[in-house]
Assembly symmetry: C2
Homo-oligomer: 420 residues x 2
Amino acid sequence: MANLRDDALIQIGQKAKDAEISLRTMGSERKNRSLLQVAEGLIHHSETILSANQKDIDQAKENGMAQGMIDRLLLTSARIEAMAEGLRQIAGLEDPVGEILGMKQRPNGLLIGQKRVPLGVVGIIYESRPNVTADAFGLCFKTGNAVILKGGKEALYSNQAIVQTIQTALEQCGVTPFAVQLITATDRSVTQEFMKLNQYVDVLIPRGGAGLIQAVVNNSTIPVIETGTGNCHIYVDESADLDMAVDIINNAKTQRISVCNACESLVVHEAVESKLLTALKKKLDEHAVQLRGDEKARDVLPDITPATEEDWGTEYLDYILSIKTVSSIDEAIAHINRYNTGHSEAIITQNYANAQKFLDEIDAAAVYVNASTRFTDGFEFGFGAEIGISTQKLHARGPMGLLALTTTKYIIYGNGQIRP
Amino acid sequence: MANLRDDALIQIGQKAKDAEISLRTMGSERKNRSLLQVAEGLIHHSETILSANQKDIDQAKENGMAQGMIDRLLLTSARIEAMAEGLRQIAGLEDPVGEILGMKQRPNGLLIGQKRVPLGVVGIIYESRPNVTADAFGLCFKTGNAVILKGGKEALYSNQAIVQTIQTALEQCGVTPFAVQLITATDRSVTQEFMKLNQYVDVLIPRGGAGLIQAVVNNSTIPVIETGTGNCHIYVDESADLDMAVDIINNAKTQRISVCNACESLVVHEAVESKLLTALKKKLDEHAVQLRGDEKARDVLPDITPATEEDWGTEYLDYILSIKTVSSIDEAIAHINRYNTGHSEAIITQNYANAQKFLDEIDAAAVYVNASTRFTDGFEFGFGAEIGISTQKLHARGPMGLLALTTTKYIIYGNGQIRP
């Protein structure tokens, strides 16, 4: 049985490698036409996709899945239209593949430059939302990559229907259907083997919760792009405009609580703590935000919950905010560098030197002066698409657009040069 | 005991993290002055380093180490001078840290750019040559990174003496000595734990043979920059200038056989095979290169060894060359994409379309037209330094200079923006 499984995965890997070659040299026009055709296909086959999704929903209900999870799993005509619209938007983006960077002539006459090329075969491991299936295909296809998808067991019927629809549309365009493949085996051992398919897969991107991402980081021998959790801080400096601070903290905490760029912890200079917390509490009470403060914060707001060591390291993804008091910007920076997850950090200040110091010394993917951490997002940054937000330092850091799905190769034009 | 070991590693990790903060914001002038001081220190403490090296050499001889390996391990006054000169050269290179890339204003007024910053803490696992110790320190320090070194057991005394010398010189400059640390524990289990020190180490770079690199790729949970092996091909097209072809093949095969950018396999179009092989054999006979050919190659040169399937995938690092006959450029490209290791590949041709086709379709870090594969090298590419040659696609591909030891972070200047 183990061998059979291996064989199936290896076949998928081999087909992706074969597809990679034609995708690598496919022009933007043809890729864009195919994306539009796939969008049409999704609309055209809505009924098939919806009835496959119904099977997943029925099974989820039988298994007693929580309503919130079922909502994530559910497809509707509107959601299929949104998937198609997403593909149309990707078709409209500029294709990064083929750009030549920094071509220069060396003293020996060699002309050396870097050409932007697809990564090759991208593996994506993700959880419940079936819309990721179309989205991941679109981003990978636009950048000339073959993609192998491993979705969650709970969305298997939906994902199969979506992938089959995409493959059919690709074939109608004369494009290899193996540009996208779905691993349908559902046992964990297959996922484990997939994470070691270095011979066929160039990069693995996990999309989902912290548990999934950690499992991939720990088990994959394929290079991983880690899209991570966000324990984001806002530091209110001694010199801050406190009205601005309250607005920004309120926005970063409550505009959407379940996302990685939401603010989880307030760090506040003791000189402005009393004034800030009094005004802030009024605002956050509108959303019933629970505050958890250190001793000095509780001197100002005696009724709030005491913060423990554990709070400093927790990404709540909830209407909860921890409050840490500091007596200097250095203490604030040290605290944030110790507890943050390398995602998004902000300072609110009117002091020029402190703004620059914070930008210099904070170690995170995105560091803000006087703005909400909620802006860390591929669309807000102007990329027109987002694969995820990288919290690691290699290859891509911060919001990832199409560029993150490409690499470069050196191309060298010679006329007979040999090395002396 | 396991706990003790853990503790020692964690302390090293923690000290590196602490050092990272001051290195991140250290100006180029101070870094360059310190590098020059370290170079002086190495010269000044030559005697101490040489006598430590003697202990390693004595032990190696006792253990019956091969003469070639002992040569790699041996330090001399001249080799220490070369280490110092390497550091002086690194001091003279431009510092990539601090550059701001692509700063743009968004419609909402946010000013968003990417600042080039150090990776943080770099781990390097390497084998015998003690000069790597100074070299790796120099490259990491110049780019503002703290480095944790794990050298081979056989070079322990030498590496300790070199690291202590560096640390002393750094302290004299008022710089934290923990910018460089050496793991002195020699059991394998410590190396295993080191490869999972994600909390403290941002990237792991193995430098050494294929076995070492594979072990790190398979066991590390820290992101790895893979510097790999090179099974490099030269394809001689139907339209090639055959004199040029012979010169380039001879250079790529024999100029230095032990390196990853040496040519291991000749792929030749059948239309020119007879003429090429006859001329080539004459040239390669001067170096007693053993040829291993397929059937058609042996029709031309009946006395050469038959090539087996295994030959196509072998990096000889020796005076051996395999020969594969093809009847089209497509067949050549398919063969090379199947067996290459993603390092360096060359076409010899006078045909414009074939040159472009080869550049487009070959999947490798460096693709050449009419030049020797031996040019794939950080110095030859004009980087002034080289950490290694990456054969993976993430982060850095091909020869890696100082840039490969940096990452970016987004810096965002706002004036109160919140997300609608």
